[in-house]
């Protein structure tokens, strides 16, 4: 069986769905960040595949930018997470509920 564009796209979609489920289900902040990374990387796969399919570099450029953005996101995210952990000793989402209504 030859691996075509559709397979990549399906894989990407599946990964994205997994990411979404992770975002919804995870209660641990760190794992939540992982899930968002999965989302972005799912998109990266698709971009790379489509770029190849069209023979156009734009998609890959986009993918690179996404990687860069993801990296900075991790930096900021982890920074926030560490501060929070220092103050509260927990990275459970259910603690983050002082504001509501």
């Amino acid at each position: 069986m030859e691996i075509g564009l559709n397979h990549y796209l399906v894989l990407s979609t599946i990964l994205f769905a997994i990411g979404l489920v992770g975002v919804m289900r995870r209660k641990n902040l760190l794992l939540l960040f992982f899930a968002t990374e999965i989302l972005l990387n799912a998109v990266n796969i698709a971009f790379a595949a489509i770029s190849h399919y069209y023979g156009d570099m734009t998609g890959q450029m986009f993918a690179f930018f996404i990687i860069a953005v993801a990296a900075s996101e991790v930096a900021v995210g982890l920074g926030l997470l560490i501060v929070w952990y220092k103050r509260h000793g927990s990275i459970d989402l259910d603690v983050l509920t002082t504001m509501k209504g």
Binding site: M24, L93, L96, T97, T98, M99, K100, G101
Partner: protein, 629 residues
């Protein structure tokens, strides 16, 4: 002559305003004197106008200034003195002059002396506007004005609950009728384009009968209220709560006859619609009998006279309805004289008896109040229609008019009522002035009224005695305006009728004396057989009509008002508004939990939103794909 017109009209206004200045101050005798003098000035001016009319026959018509003008409507303050209005002016100014002077004595000890004269003169002014106006709108001003003054005067002793209640009743009942009148005015305006008498009368001839009928009916509704015709009659008896001079002036001589005046003034209308006229006559006849019946048993001196007034108004309407306008006007004039006389006499009695009204508690007053007795007797004779007093001429002519118009039922009823009238008039006289001196049981020491009060009453006495002989000159004067004709019944028949009527009346008087002028009369205590009879109860309770009004109109109105407020306005209309607001607020309150503050939930909301968008996209995509577009 215009000068006198304005003097006649505005002297009462000046008088009223002058007295008004002192309303809040203690009694000042000069307000009464000045007011009386001004009213007498008005009387003199009116007399001058009367002479002028008699001499020249030329009506005086002036337009003072514009009142309202917009669109096609033009209403001036215009005044017309013609044969009819000058008659009314004379009646009004004469009676009011008498009453003013009389009241100086009658209101002697009253705190509201000054206020009384302010109101009384204001009334005269309104009445003058009413009769002198040359258009319906001006008439309406006076119409409402006298209603207002009547309210103020009935409720003059405003500390009394019954007085203020009666005042409000009178005002409101009059307003009901005024609405009818107002509608009549609207009809006249939209059909003729004017409210001036001359313009409207001329135009009436070209209007369809149906329209004229409506106009006639609505105007008459107005007249019914002011003249207290059934079913708007209850206020008149209650209006006796006012000071007696007021009853004499307003509720006997002038205001209540305004309705009759309206019909007479609009005779050009009513002569075009005789079927309405017949209805008016029938209603008048009915009221004549109906009111007389209530007067038979009543134990309140003033109320008896009030019912008698009502009954006589019925006579006037009967005459006016039958087209005998001049007769109606004549009876109006005569009636004003003797009825005012009776009331003022009753006032004397009240004064003497310390405001006692029940004639059963009097008796034998003849000895102490000789002059009053004489006046009351003459007044009663005139009322009863005994020859040669005023009432005979006027009332007899009404009967003749009914007879010659072949309205036998009306004739019969009116004749019968004449008997009743004689009976209740002399029942009163007998109870008050004859028989045992029952008042002694109550420790009252009656005395005759002030001399000047008696003198003041004398013009009325004169009217009651002599006005009858003026019938023919009066006819000559007004026939030009009222297109009337004298009633000539075959001589012998007339003679038979005359004798028969007089006999009937005489018997009634005799019966009254026999029954009530004896020493066996006791103050009724509710145990006698007659007092427990059905007829008596019916009559003493005024056919239960006030009761029915209270029970079936006033109470439901009050309850409905309460219901509208508490249930509809607060619980439905306002609650709906607040309900909408609180629905919005509560929706916010209930759904704010969506913002749980939990990051997981927030993320899920985002995903849910995305999924909704995606599902819609897919649905829409399929729809487009398979709809063949």
């Amino acid at each position: 002559m215009e000068k006198y017109l304005y003097i006649a009209l505005f002297a009462p206004l000046v008088s009223s305003l002058f007295s008004l200045l002192f309303t809040a101050t203690p009694k000042k005798l000069f307000t009464g004197i000045v007011a009386s003098l001004l009213i007498i000035t008005s009387l003199i001016s009116s007399s001058i106008l009367l002479t002028h009319i008699l001499e020249t026959g030329e009506p005086i018509h002036v337009t003072m200034m514009t009142w309202m003008q917009t669109g096609g409507l033009y209403i001036p303050f215009g005044f017309l003195v013609d044969q009819v209005s000058v008659t009314m002016m004379m009646v009004v100014t004469l009676v009011s002059s008498v009453v003013h002077v009389y009241a100086i004595g009658y209101m002697d000890h009253d705190k509201g002396f000054n206020r009384f004269f302010a109101w009384l003169s204001a009334f005269v002014f309104s009445m003058m506007i009413l009769v002198m106006s040359d258009n319906y709108a001006g008439l309406f001003i006076g119409w409402e004005g006298v209603g207002l003054c009547s309210w103020g005067l009935i409720g003059f002793w405003f500390h009394k609950e019954s007085a203020t209640w009666a005042a409000n009743e009178a005002f409101i009942m009059n307003r009901i009728a005024d609405l009818g009148m107002l509608i009549g005015l609207f009809l006249i305006y939209w059909n003729t384009g004017t409210l001036q008498y001359d313009g409207a009368f001329a135009a009436f001839h070209q209007l369809p009968t149906a329209t004229l009928t409506w106009i006639g009916i609505f105007l008459f509704i107005g007249a019914m209220g002011k003249s207290a015709q059934f079913p708007l009659h209850t206020w008149l008896a209650d209006a006796m709560e006012g000071p007696t001079p007021v009853s004499a002036l307003i509720h006997a001589a002038t205001m209540v006859t305004a309705g009759v005046y309206l019909v007479i003034r609009s005779h050009e209308l009513y002569s075009l619609i005789p079927h309405v006229g017949l209805f008016i006559a029938s209603l008048g006849t009915f009221v004549a009998l109906f009111a007389a019946s209530m007067a038979l048993v009543n134990r309140d001196m003033k109320r008896v006279i009030a019912y008698s007034t009502l009954s006589q108004l019925g006579y006037m309407f009967a005459a006016a309805g039958l087209g005998a306008y001049w007769v109606a006007l004549f009876h109006l004039m005569a009636h004003a004289g003797f009825k005012a006389l009776l009331f003022l006499g009753a006032g004397n009695v009240m004064h003497a008896m310390k405001d006692e009204l029940d004639p059963f508690k009097m008796g034998g007053l003849k000895k102490v109040m000789k002059w009053t007795w004489i006046m009351m007797v003459i007044g009663s004779l005139a009322l009863a229609g005994v020859i040669p007093f005023a009432g005979f001429f006027s009332k007899d002519t009404i009967l003749e008019a009914a007879y010659s118009g072949n309205h036998m039922v009306i004739y019969g009823v009116l004749l019968f009522t004449a008997g009743l009238t004689a009976f209740y008039s002399f029942r009163l006289v007998a109870l008050i002035f004859h028989g045992e001196e029952r008042y002694k049981l109550f420790g009252v020491h009656p005395h005759e009224a002030y001399r000047f009060m008696l003198v003041a009453m004398s013009p009325l006495l004169l009217v009651a005695i002599v006005v009858g002989i003026l019938q023919t000159p009066f006819f000559d004067m007004v026939e030009e305006v009222l297109n009337g004709h004298e009633y000539h019944i075959e001589h012998t028949l007339a003679l038979i009728m005359l004798v028969g009527t007089q006999l009937f009346v005489g018997l009634a008087i005799l019966y009254a004396y026999v029954k009530y002028a004896n020493s066996k009369i006791k103050v009724p205590d509710g145990t006698s057989k007659i007092e427990n009879s059905f007829a008596y109860k019916l009559l003493i309770n005024q056919y239960y009509i006030p009761y029915a009004y209270e029970e079936y109109i006033v109470k439901p109105y009050r309850e409905l008002s309460e219901f509208f407020w508490q249930k509809i306005d607060v619980k439905v209309v306002d609650a709906t508004v607040d309900g909408i607001a609180s629905i919005i607020y509560n929706t916010g309150e209930k759904t704010r939990d969506m913002q749980s503050g939990n990051l997981s939930t927030m993320l899920r909301w985002m995903v849910v939103g995305l999924i909704i968008l995606l599902s819609l996209a897919v649905i829409f995509g399929f729809t487009v794909k398979y709809s063949g577009v």
